[in-house]
Amino acid sequence: MAASEEDVLRTEIRWSFVVFAATALILISILYAGLVHGINPPSNIETVDPKTLHLSGEFTEGNLGTRVEADGGVTVRVVTTQFAFVPQCVVVPTDRKVTLRFASPDVIHGVLVAGTNVNTMVIPGYVSQVHTTFKTTGDLLTPCHEFCGLGHSQMWAIVRAVAPADFKPDAQGRAACDGR
């Protein structure tokens, strides 16, 4: 039985309401994440050569981890690589602004620190920078959330948030999970 033009029109209008509702729901969740959880895209674009990341500069193996800079800011540098975060555990103080900087020498990875607003992709060729303030102490699970290869599901790290009194950087301003 052929539907009349009226019927077709009515069905189309009904479906358009469903589409509008779905779009509105998605928009509202994005707005909620942005306004309440402070999740936002990176505010700067900074490039870095992934082929020579390990050779010199900021993301050499010896320079990774947590460090209190000369100006008192806390910076955490992490390399995401197939299939590990380097270092696997980083220590950060709570109630203090922390800058996290990530770079990848191989493929796209993702970083999500559970229970915080830290959620970013790490794209080879760029530095992903996130500012945050950790509010609760504890070992926060940090999985890779961007499929990066066959070992993706074994790729996770720990962000150890400790009370300011327990955050004890050494003379060079470095702090590590094992108290290196």
Binding site: L31, G34, L35, G38, N40, P42, S43, N44, I45, E46, K51, T52, H54, L55, S56, G57, E58, T60, E61, G62, N63, R67, E69, A70, G73, T75, R77, V79, T81, Q82, F83, A84, V86, Q88, T99, R101, P105, D106, V127, Q129, H131, G149, L150, G151, S153, Q154, M155, W156, Q172
Partner: protein
Amino acid sequence: MASSRSSSEESRFTVLAASAVGGILAGGILLGFLILPVVQGRQAGIDPWTAICRSLGIAPGTPAAGSPISTAAARPVSRVSWDEGTLRALAGAAGPSPPEAVAQCAACHGDAGIATDPTFPNLAGQSAAAIFKQLHDYRSGARVNEQMSPVAQGLDEADLAALALHFAARSKGTMDATARADRNHPVAELVLRGDPARGIPACNSCHAPGSGGPIETPILTRQNEAYLADQLRRYARGDRGNDIYGRMRGFSAKLTEDEIRRLAAFYAWTE
């Protein structure tokens, strides 16, 4: 079929569609350039005007955190960079006649890349990228061995690629089928699935040829058992540190001695 709609109906639709598009555009501008930046700016301690300018892209974002570089002398990590030149050198075919330097290798790695001593590594059928990287690392001092380092230091950059291509093209020969490792061996779980709880990735997520892992990942199958176990112990102790970003050191220390032995045996006796 001619349209039966009146022109007044038609113009009503135009107005409706135009205002819908305009409304969405205005809403988007309001949300994206005003509400979100101002609210998020307040959370980050940025004044509303700067926040709006930044969202429009006319003011720069937070400057990159300056990066004071560690001056502590780290152990030399690998100096290999997988740039175009290197990749092109390794993409070629092995020359028709073996490079001259091959003569130096035979005493230990055999004429055809099958080692003369079971504690030495076989080179036959190894990936060219892996051989190149290891030779480069012995030469730069990132990997140290009293037998290999002096040999590698006597080679020049062009030799490395030629030798890598030469040995990669050699055949491993056939394996005694009765010695084949049991695919259902408990250690196969680590090889194929890893151990997420301990943060150990499946070995084959990098070591299976074509798995998409790092390009320099060596092929482990049919490698000498004693050599494999010895290298895993070195990674665990930190005696071998030329793996870029600790890809092997990272989890080797979590392997038990028993697992190391079983993994070495598994790979050595797998085709």
